[in-house]
Amino acid sequence: MPVPADHFFFIDPHRCIGCEACVQACTECDTHKGHSMIHLEYVDRHESPQTFPVVCMHCDSPTCAEVCPADAIKRTDDGVVQSARKPRCIACNNCVLACPFGVPKMHTGMELMMKCDMCYDRSSEGKRPMCATVCPSQALFYGTREQIEQLRPRSRPINEFHFGQQTIHTKVRMMVPRESAVTHLDVMDSMFDADAPPEIDNTDDLMLAGATFKLPVVSQR
C-alpha cells in the first residue's frame, strides 16, 4: 500500500531537545532492524545544547538515486525514497556523498547503504513513522496539512531548498516562521554569509550577559 497522499512529514529542528527518542525508536522499526537511520547531532556541545535531527527529505528528484551506479535506490510512486535494494547496493558511497542533505548511512560491514524510508512498514499501513510518533518536542511531526495548520499558527511549511544553483523540492516539509518572507532555504548562502548571525546562537550572551557572578578564586594547590 502507498503512503497516504494527504500525510506529510514536517520537521522543525528549532524545536529539537536532543533527547534521542527518535534515534532509539528508529532502531525499533521493522525496516531498520536495530539500526538508526536518523542523524542527531550537537552543533557544538561546548557552545550550546543545540541539536538537530536529520531524516530523509525524500526529494522529488533524488540525487542519491541518480548517482547510484547500481540502480539500487528507488523512489516509490508515493514519493518515498527507499533504502538501497540489498541485492544491488555495492556500497560505493556515491549516495552518501551526493545527498545534498547528508542523509544516507553506509554500513560497511554489510556493504549496504541504509537510509530513512519514513518507516515504510508503518507509513504504508497508515501509521506514523516511529521517530515522528515518539518525538517529545514534535520537531519531527507526521500528519496532514490541516493538522499542522491548526497546531502551528506561527509556522509555515516550505519544501524548496537551494544548494548553489541547484533547486531541490522535497516531500518532507520544513517549518519556518509564518511571517518570514522566505520561499526557500539557501543552504550555501547561510553557510558562509558573513552578515548572517554567528553560526552558534549567542550562547555567550545568553549566559554571560544574563548572569552576574564572581569567578571563584581558586587557590593553586
Partner: protein, 748 residues
C-alpha cells in the same frame, strides 16, 4: 550484619549492572507478538501511555499508543527502550542470602525459607528492642495499591512508626508548600492548560531531559503566542530557545520570586479582587518583600537586572499563565520557601483555577503523585490524611479493622531513619523500590549506616547498589509483571496493566509483603487476593479525605483514559482542574475553592536564606546535581539497558570554560570534585552552558562515580528534602585517572 559480603567488584561481576540489548526474539522482525498490552512507561511521573509487545511471557518490544491523550504516542528514549529490562540477565529469579564464600557474595535461597528467616529476624529485633527498631523504606515508583499496602504493613503488621519513602527525595517540598498555600498537594491543572497560556514560567525544571513529553506542551503554547521564561543555572535545551532565560545562581530562587512579587506590587500588576476574595495573608507578604528591590534581587540571584525586570513585566501583565517547577527549586534546605515564593507569584496574579491559568510541580517518579497520597509517608494516612489527626486516625483504623490507639504516631523522614540507625534506635530495615546508597546525599555516611544494621532485607528485581548490603534479598516484580493504578503528573489516576508473569521465584511485591505478614503471625488485613481488592479497600480508606479515590474504579479509568482525583462518588467525573470558582471540596464545604475551612488560599512570607553551605576560600565552587535524559534516578533499571547507557555512558563534570581555564582543565580531563564529605573524579565537560561559578554532575551512578558522595545532607526543616542542588566544592584537575577507570564498565 548488613555489610557487603565481598568486594563490590566481585558482586558486580555476578549481579551487574550488565547491559541488555535487542537480540534474539527482540530483533526478529518476523515475530508477531501474542498480544499488545496497553500500559504506561515504568519510569517518570509523566507516565506516557505505550503498548508492550508480548510473546511467550516475554516483553519483546513496544508499540506507540497514539490514543492515550497525555502523550499521544510520544515517548522519550527511556520509554522506547524500557522493554529491555525484562528477561534481563541480571534479573533476580530467586531469593538470595548473604554468603561471603559464594561467588558474587550471595547464594540462592528457597523463597519460603527466605520469608521465614526475614520474619524471624524482624521478630527477634522487635522482641529485643521494640517495634520501632525495625524501619521500612518504600518507594514512589510502586503502584498506589502497593504504596498503600506498605503504609498499612508498617503501621498494622510491624506496628512501627518508622516508614518513609523515596518521594522524600523528590517533591516533598512542593507537597508541603502546596498544602500550606492551597490545602491540597496536587498539580492544580491538567497539562492541556499549558497550551493557550500567555506566559509559561519554568523554574528549576530541565523539562527536556527530565519530563521530555512536556516539551511539546510548551512548544505548542509558544505556537499559540506564549512567551516562555526559563530559570535555571544551566542553559538547558529548552532554555536555549526560550524567550527569556534567567541564569539563576543555585539556591537563590526565593530571592527571585520575592523580587518579581515586589515588581508586581510596585507596578500594581495584581489581581486585587482575587487577592481580597480568595486569599489571606497578602498584606504581611507585601510588607516582607518590600526589601526585594531590583538591584538587591539581581545581586542575590546573580541575574542581570534587566532580565528580572522583563520577566516581571511579562508575568505581571499576562492575562493567562502557567508556572511549573521541579526539583531545581525543591531540592534545597529552604525548598518549601522556594515553592511558597513561586505560589505567591501565582496567587498575586490571580491566575489559577481557570482555563490556561495554572500551576504545577512536575513530579519525578512514576507514581510520584499517587505514592505520596496514601500513607507511605512517615506522617500520613490514606487519602492524604494526617497520622497525627485523631479523626483521620479513627476513619482509617475503622477501615483497617484495628483500634486507632494501636496505630503508631508519625515517624521520621527517610534520612532521619539513617541517623536513628547511627544511634542504634533502628536495627532492622526493610526496603523496597528504593536505592538509598545512590540516591541519598552523603553516600559515604549512608554506606556506614547500612553496615551498622543488625538485619537488612531488600525487595528488588535486580540486586541494586544498596541491596548489596542486604542479609536477605527477596525477588520482587517489574512494573509490567503486576497491575494497579498510579497517579501521573497531572493528578490523573491511570491503570498499569500486567503484561507478563514474574519469572522463577520472583513474586509480585504485594504478595511478598503479605507472605511476610503471615510469617510474622499477623496476617489480619493482609489477605488480599489481587490488587483490585487492595484498590477497593484503598478507595474506602481515602473516602472523604482530600485525596478522595472513592469514586474511581479500574473500569472508569480504562474508559476515560484516566480519572483525575478527587473523585468522591462513582458518578463523579473526576477533577482535572482544581480551584475552579464555585467548586466544592470536603474541607471548605462550599466556602471557596481552596482546601481550607474558609475556602481561601494562603499567602506565606517566604524569607530568603542562603544555602546551608556557602562557598568559601577552601571550597569556592557551587556544586549542583541533576539528571540526563537517558538515565532514570539511581539507574537500577536504566544502567542495565545498553542503548540508554551508550547514549550517555558515564557522568561528567560540566564546567564553564572561564572556570576551566582558571583551573587549567581541558575538555575530557579527569577532574576531582571535593566537598567536606567526599570526592569524585570524573571527566570534565567544558561547556558555556553553565554558570561560571557552578559545576554540575548528574547523579544516576553509584560508588566512585556517585555525585552524592559530594552532596550535603542538609534538609529542609519542614519537608525534610535534602539539599541536592547546592553545596560547596573544590575542583581540581586529577593527577591520575581514578582506579575505577580501569576496573568498571561505564554503567557499573
Amino acid at each position: 550484619m548488613a555489610q557487603q559480603p565481598i568486594a563490590t567488584l566481585d558482586i558486580i561481576q555476578h549481579f551487574g549492572p550488565h547491559l541488555a540489548y535487542s537480540d534474539g526474539a527482540r530483533l526478529d522482525r518476523g515475530l508477531d507478538p501474542d498480544r499488545l498490552v496497553k500500559t504506561h512507561c515504568c519510569f517518570c511521573g509523566q507516565q506516557c501511555g505505550l503498548q508492550l509487545k508480548v510473546k511467550d511471557n516475554e516483553v519483546i518490544g513496544f508499540e506507540p499508543w497514539d490514543e492515550f491523550p497525555f502523550n499521544q504516542g510520544m515517548l522519550c528514549p527511556k520509554g522506547v527502550k524500557r522493554y529491555l529490562q525484562g528477561a534481563h540477565p541480571d534479573r533476580l529469579v530467586s531469593a538470595q542470602e548473604r554468603a561471603p564464600h559464594a561467588p558474587g557474595g550471595f547464594a540462592p535461597l528457597a523463597y519460603d525459607a527466605a520469608i521465614e528467616r526475614t520474619a524471624a529476624a524482624i521478630h527477634r529485633i522487635q522482641q529485643a528492642h521494640g517495634n520501632g527498631a525495625v524501619g521500612v523504606l518504600s518507594g514512589a515508583s510502586l503502584t498506589t495499591e502497593k504504596a498503600y499496602l506498605m503504609g498499612k504493613f508498617a503501621r498494622v503488621c510491624l506496628k512501627t512508626p518508622y516508614i518513609d519513602y523515596n518521594g522524600r527525595l523528590c517533591m516533598v517540598s512542593a507537597g508541603v508548600g502546596n498544602k500550606k498555600a492551597f490545602g491540597i498537594d496536587r498539580a492544580a491543572n491538567p497539562w492541556s492548560d499549558i497550551i493557550g497560556a500567555e506566559v509559561v514560567w519554568i523554574s528549576g525544571a530541565n523539562i527536556a531531559e527530565c519530563a521530555p513529553i512536556t516539551t511539546n506542551y510548551v512548544w505548542q503554547a509558544r505556537e499559540q503566542g506564549a512567551k516562555i521564561i526559563v530559570v535555571d543555572p544551566r542553559i538547558t535545551p529548552l532554555a536555549r530557545t526560550c524567550d527569556l532565560f534567567l541564569p539563576v545562581k543555585p539556591g537563590r530562587d526565593i530571592a527571585l520570586f520575592n523580587g518579581i512579587l515586589q515588581q508586581m506590587i510596585e507596578h500594581d500588576w495584581l489581581d486585587h479582587a482575587f487577592i481580597a476574595e480568595q486569599t489571606v495573608g497578602f498584606d504581611a507578604l507585601a510588607e516582607a518583600v518590600r526589601e526585594w528591590t531590583l538591584p538587591r534581587t539581581a545581586e542575590v540571584t546573580g541575574i542581570a537586572e534587566r532580565l528580572i525586570r522583563q520577566a516581571a513585566e511579562w508575568w505581571g501583565l499576562a492575562k493567562s499563565s502557567f508556572l511549573m517547577h521541579a526539583r531545581g527549586i525543591e531540592h534545597h534546605s529552604h525548598g518549601v520557601q522556594n515553592v511558597l515564593g513561586a505560589i505567591n507569584m501565582v496567587l498575586a496574579s490571580g491566575r489559577i483555577g481557570r482555563k490556561n491559568c495554572g500551576y504545577a510541580t512536575i513530579t519525578g517518579q512514576a507514581n510520584g503523585q499517587g505514592g505520596r497520597e496514601h500513607g507511605q509517608k512517615c506522617d500520613q494516612l490514606p487519602g492524604a490524611r494526617d497520622l497525627a489527626n485523631p479523626e483521620h486516625r479513627a476513619h482509617v483504623a475503622k477501615v483497617w479493622d484495628v483500634s486507632p490507639d494501636d496505630l503508631p504516631q508519625p515517624g521520621v523522614d527517610a534520612y532521619e531513619m539513617f541517623r536513628k540507625i547511627e544511634r542504634g534506635e533502628i536495627r532492622g530495615l526493610l526496603s523496597i523500590c528504593f536505592n538509598p546508597l545512590v540516591s541519598l546525599p552523603d553516600s559515604n555516611y549512608v554506606a556506614r549506616m547500612l553496615d551498622k544494621l543488625d538485619f537488612y532485607v531488600a525487595i528488588d528485581f535486580f540486586l541494586n547498589d544498596t541491596a548489596r548490603h542486604a542479609d536477605i534479598v527477596l525477588p520482587g516484580s517489574l512494573q509490567e509483571e503486576d497491575e494497579g493504578v498510579v497517579a501521573q503528573v497531572e493528578g490523573r489516576v491511570i491503570k498499569i496493566n500486567k503484561a507478563v508473569d514474574p519469572p522463577g521465584d520472583a513474586r509480585q511485591d504485594w504478595k511478598i509483603i503479605q507472605d511476610l505478614a503471615k510469617a510474622l503471625g499477623r496476617p489480619h488485613g493482609f489477605t488480599f487476593h489481587n490488587p483490585r481488592e487492595i484498590f477497593d479497600e484503598l478507595r474506602r480508606a481515602s473516602q472523604g479525605g482530600v485525596a478522595d479515590y472513592y469514586g474511581i474504579t479500574w473500569e472508569k479509568i480504562e474508559q476515560n483514559y484516566g480519572v483525575f482525583w478527587p473523585c468522591p462518588t462513582e458518578d463523579h467525573p473526576g477533577t482535572p482542574r482544581l480551584f475552579e470558582r464555585g467548586s466544592h471540596n470536603p474541607i471548605a464545604n462550599g466556602a471557596g475553592p481552596f482546601y481550607f475551612p474558609d475556602g481561601k488560599a494562603r499567602f506565606h512570607v517566604a524569607p530568603y536564606s542562603p544555602p546551608t553551605e556557602e562557598t568559601d576560600a577552601e571550597y569556592p565552587v557551587i556544586f549542583t546535581t541533576g539528571r540526563v535524559v537517558s538515565q532514570f534516578l539511581s539507574g537500577t533499571q536504566t544502567r542495565r539497558i545498553g542503548p540508554l547507557v551508550e547514549q550517555y555512558p558515564e557522568p561528567r563534570v560540566e564546567i564553564h570554560p572561564q572556570l576551566a581555564a582558571q583551573l587549567e582543565i581541558n575538555d575530557g580531563d579527569w577532574t576531582t570534585v571535593t566537598s567536606r564529605r567526599g570526592e569524585i573524579t570524573l571527566r570534565a565537560q567544558v561547556v558555556k552552558t553553565i554558570r561560571p561559578d557552578t559545576v554540575f554532575v548528574p547523579y544516576h551512578w553509584a560508588g566512585p562515580k556517585s555525585a552524592n558522595r559530594v552532596t550535603i545532607a542538609a534538609q529542609d526543616p519542614l519537608s525534610k528534602i535534602p539539599e541536592y542542588k547546592v553545596c560547596a566544592v573544590r575542583v581540581a584537575k586529577a593527577a591520575a585517572p581514578p582506579d575505577y577507570a580501569a576496573q568498571l564498565e561505564p554503567q557499573q
